[in-house]
């Protein structure tokens, strides 16, 4: 009952040691709550069993939105609202003058795809100016790797396992809520 509010922090000083530890801990069927690393450790998300991110898909949809916005905007302004003769360019239908519209259609597609995806990323990962950092130990942005697992019924056994994986520091933490 009180075990549920406690977590164990295991600190590592090498990425390969961390990877081996993740596999070991997963094999022991302990739940890894979080891992904080100073740089992207390739393959870590797979080893932890994280689901792949869908940001690329959102970006594609945002790009489509941008394309539609540009077509609707240019069609309205150039063909529907003021179909003027500017230098002999055919303004009778969108398709006839489309080559001149391609640059802006392209730019707006990229603009929407890029910016909306980045905003989605910031919101999904909960990052914005004045956001407080949540890494529990400041060394994890330098050269330390921190694995957080939820403390089970037998904390001593978990401590033993973690120490054997090469952790340089194992700490039992009361998670403040």
């Amino acid at each position: 009952m009180e075990g549920s509010s406690k977590v164990i922090h295991a600190m590592y000083t090498d990425d390969d040691v961390l990877m081996a530890a993740v596999k070991k801990v997963r094999a022991e069927r302990y739940h890894i709550e979080e891992i904080y690393t100073p740089f992207p450790v390739h393959g870590l998300d797979k080893a932890m069993g994280l689901a792949p991110t869908k940001l690329a898909i959102t970006s594609f949809l945002y790009g489509l939105t941008g394309l539609v916005v540009s077509i609707v905007m240019i069609d309205y302004m150039m063909i529907e609202d003021w179909p003027q003769n500017i230098g002999g360019k055919p303004s009778f239908s969108y398709l006839e003058n489309m080559p001149a519209f391609i640059p802006i259609m392209f730019e707006l597609t990229v603009f929407f795809a890029a910016h909306l995806m980045v905003i989605t990323f910031y919101l999904r990962s909960r990052m914005w100016p004045f956001k407080k950092a949540e890494n529990p130990d400041i060394r994890t942005t330098d050269d330390h790797f921190l694995m957080e697992i939820s403390a089970g019924a037998n904390v001593d056994e978990q401590f033993d396992i973690l120490r054997n994986t090469g952790a340089v520091e194992v700490t039992l933490i009361d998670k403040a809520h």
């Binding site: 090498d14 081996a20 740089f39 230098g87 640059p103 730019e107 890029a114 990323f121 950092a133 400041i138």
Partner: protein
Amino acid sequence: MASHYEAPIRRPLVLGEKSYHDVSVDIAKPVEGKANKSWWIVFSISLAAFLWGIGCIVYTIATGIGVWGLNKTIGWAWDITNFVWWVGIGHAGTLISAVLLLFRQKWRMAINRSAEAMTIFAVIQAGLFPLIHMGRPWLGYWVLPIPNQFGSLWVNFNSPLLWDVFAISTYLSVSLVFWWTGLLPDFAMIRDRAVKPFQKKIYSLLAFGWSGRAKDWQRFEEVSLVLAGLATPLVLSVHTIVSFDFATSIVPGWHTTIFPPYFVAGAVFSGFAMVNTLLIIMRKVVSLEDYITVQHIELMNIVIMITGSIVGVAYISELFIAWYSGVEYEQYAFLNRATGPYWWAYLLMMTCNVFSPQFMWFKKLRTSIMFSFFISIVVNVGMWFERFVIIVTSLHRDYMPSAWTMFQPTFVDIGIFIGTIGFFFVLFLLYARTFPVVAQAEIKTIMKSSGQRYKRIRESGGSLVGTGTDPRTHNVNIHSGTPIVDEKSTVKPQDPKAINELMDSVGVFDPTTQAKDDLQQINGVGPKMEEVLNGIGIYSFLQVSKMTKREYDLLDEITASFPGRAERDDWAGQAKILINNKK
């Protein structure tokens, strides 16, 4: 298991015996330290040029465009020349961070941050020109399709100048978020190292609360990849659209279909030259020679050589097509470039752009830092003249001989250009003092595959598991869950046992074979501390460089003054750099 295999033929990208911690220390150093005298000198010069430029801009806007050297025939000259030149320079940054990322080029990691910074600062300079070359810049907002009280009067989407507005603003804003997102982990590193509260506050704000969770990294890498995939066509499209300003016209010498790819190649060419210029200086000034190595410079030179050759082919194609076309206006445009009153500009452009990159075929030249620096300047001069030649020589003599004229810039034309150079360097110098100039989080991912130390370990048959550990930060403290008994140190100052222990680990100085180093060069060692160190028997950087946490503690016990000072200042790391600089 993360495998770090790399073909033995590849040369190391990070030199020296670097650990992950060394990377943090080296990259945070320029940010945490103080600016030196030469920085202030260069900054003052740049600031003066910038202020002069502002003066010229204010004078232009207040008095009218007539203060420039333009006339009725030549409506575009230095303004648009400088605009295209700055946009072109900006392109290398995106190329390095996006295209080289798509091609998985690891060498980009040491240079991408500065290249992107250069992009942003160069595009800011470029963006000034479309505004200030307007006759009525205060109506500049009319280029935007905003609903308005004129019956909703819209813009004309047929004009390449409007395409420019969309292209440049998209380019600047996308480059900015790409750059900023990449900076978050590095700002977080500096935030977590900061000791001064103000610095901590600023970098906490800039880092957006980056915590480095596994999920954050997974998304971060996906975002970087997708942005790279978007930025690559963007960078090609932006300079293409800039080239449309000329290519879609009916002016002989401008109306060409080769312009879009040829301008892009020229942009990459001049952009890489500018990156080379800046990085050759920067690696020296902020002592990052171990990260921005001669190999990086050589690879940039190869890109300059390739794109320079593409530009050369484009020049020849233009000449061939002019001859082949049978259009006398087109033929005259090129005859005029080569033999008309601006022959010197054309010759300068040909010499700088076609011949100078060909020197890079010689390994001796392309691996010479001095020579690369010289060529990179030459290329930028040549590329400025390319834009000048295209714009001015095509305008000053075209269809009607009665409209033929010449162009003479005034001091205001020149002053604004100098002002943008000053502004660019003001921004770049401020950046170099406050931003992590190398993407440390990315460098750390290639340490085990491309770091000299790890390559050495791997080639001698050793395993890389556990080698990321740094003795200075590796502090085994398994039982931190249980309270640690606070023991007061019983060691007295000048304790002979501690001195012996310290000397055992740092090594004895032999005055007959070794020379004494000036230990005061280490930041934190004053005349008093040097005496103390000499008293213990420490005379050389080599000895200091061997110090780890254990030795620092021993030193604290012996000297009993400024506890923790040596560790905080990272004397060992500083000594290593000083040793490297001596060589």
